[in-house]
Amino acid sequence: MLLELDDQATAVAQARAAGRRRAVTVNAVRVLLVVAVLGSWELAATYWIDPFYYSKPSAIWHRLTDWFTTGTSQGSIWTQIAYTLEEALIGFVLGSAGGVVLGIVLGRSRFLSDVCAPFIKAANAIPRIILASLFVIWFGLGMSSKVATAFVLVFFAVFFNAFQGAREVDRNLVNNARILGASRTAVLRTIVVPSATSWILASLHSAFGFAIIGAIVGEYSGADKGLGLLINHAQGTFDSAGIYAGMIVITVIALLAEWLLTLLERRLLRWRPPVAGNEARI
């Protein structure tokens, strides 16, 4: 008996140790890959290819440190980040709020969704890049034109998910709530919104990325501040390292936002059974 327990404990410890070893190996290989890619890029750019076009890791690193220590051609890097982030955030909040509200309303009303369907499809088919230019004409070079671009991108991403989520609410749950005494608004609040939440949260992940894209594309079309302007300027001066550096800054911001959204999602979806093979998820 005691021996058995002992065996079990050893087995668990062994399994744990094996898991740790595996994690170390995986991480080591990842680091090696990054080093190999960056190293060969650096070598190639030093000896064979023209770093003027392709840049090289050391130059990009240099540009990044330069930005963060002495500032960019457009002023402090933090001002640019804050500006772009503000545009993206406002667009994200307004766009997702609008998408959620309209998605749920149309998802629950057959009549309204029938009426609006062709308009929404048409609006969704408009290339958004063109809208960005239009918004510059409408709203000027300031922040509002970028917010508008981010809004449009976010809105459609969230809208379709919220719509689908509201439409797929289990009828059984709605009927049960009605029998238990729920009013229409109570059904909406306690059944429809929670049911649609996992759909909506799924769309928010990509929506924040869209908000940043919207802000940057907006800045591209004309701006006096922001990361998009920085990249545009780098392009104008054939500064490929600057483009890469801008890309890296944006990627880091997007990853941070993704991480925050994952935390929010975990908090809101605590009730869900854990996904099988969670560790294997990317």
Binding site: N176, I179, L180, G181, T190, P194, P273
Partner: protein
């Protein structure tokens, strides 16, 4: 529940009720045809019938979730429009909210009916305990077994103290032992010192596939015809109450009434089965 038109009148009355659905092929499917049924206040009526005949549809007519296509449905003497006051309905597929804990699931009814959060939870806690889930208050439905979820649904329905209780195969997913326990529990709650409903026991319509269960529980057993459903025969169950769900199955009286109802039901099951085979062929 609060105001009954005629205190002694029937709790539920279906008069010549018919329900048609648009079928998937575009035609019309009659689920319930010319159904007459009366359930007195405090009466326990068990309904049996072949699968797909229209039992659940009948309950949805009484609950007000579906309007009849023809005929009349009265609850407490009044035509059903919307969901009548005092109706509790345990669905065939349990409808507990996956994002709420056991306690908050059971508290949903009182909350919807305007109780304060504290009070709703207190009421809920009492019922959670009564269905034997006291230790699982803060569990989420996915952490419960199928039988436990059914008990959550039962508590969720009973916490509103319905005067009309519609139950659609509530125990069919349970194992035999748990089912026996739940049947006893239901009878106790229905007829106990603190009975459900206003002024005495609730009127119960209990749909089941299990004839044994129907006879154990019911004052009357209604046999439905194969689709479209209508009442084929009604049998009184002259077994004494209080009944012990486990013991009563072994008595000769039970077997006698069981056999009688089965004779009637068997024909309908046969018809439904042949039709099913015909469709498959």
């Amino acid at each position: 529940m609060p105001t009954q038109a005629e205190p002694d009148g029937p709790a539920i009355e279906l008069r010549d009720a018919t329900k048609r659905f648009r079928s998937s092929s575009g035609g019309v499917h009659t689920a319930v045809r010319n159904l007459d049924l009366t359930v007195r206040a405090g009466e326990f009526v068990a309904v049996v019938g072949p699968t797909g005949c229209g039992k659940s549809t009948t309950l949805s007519l009484v609950s007000g979730l579906e309007p009849p296509s023809a005929g009349e449905v009265l609850v407490h003497g009044r035509p059903v429009e919307g969901i009548p006051a005092g109706v509790g309905y345990m669905f065939q597929n349990d409808a507990v909210l996956p994002w709420r804990t056991v306690l908050d699931n059971v508290a949903a009814g009182p909350r919807y009916r305007g109780a304060a959060k504290r009070q709703a939870r207190e009421q809920a806690r009492d019922w959670v305990r009564r269905v034997g889930l006291g230790d699982f208050e803060s569990y989420y439905p996915h952490q419960l077994s199928g039988g436990m979820r059914k008990r959550v649904a039962l508590a969720q329905t009973l916490v509103n103290e319905p005067s009309i209780l519609l139950m659609d195969e509530p125990f069919s997913a349970l194992d035999v032992q748990t089912r026996g326990l739940m049947q006893d529990e239901l009878l106790r709650l229905w007829a106990g010192d603190d009975p459900l409903g206003e002024g005495g026991g609730a009127a119960v319509v209990f749909v089941t596939h299990d004839l044994e269960e129907a006879v154990v529980l019911g004052d009357r057993v209604v046999v439905m015809t194969a689709s479209p459903a209508t009442v084929k025969a009604v049998f009184d169950v002259p077994l004494e109450r209080p009944r012990d769900a486990e013991e009563i199955r072994l008595t000769p009286e039970f077997l006698e009434i069981y056999r009688e109802v089965w004779e009637s039901l068997r024909e309908e099951v046969q018809i439904a089965r042949e039709r099913g085979a015909g469709n498959a062929a």
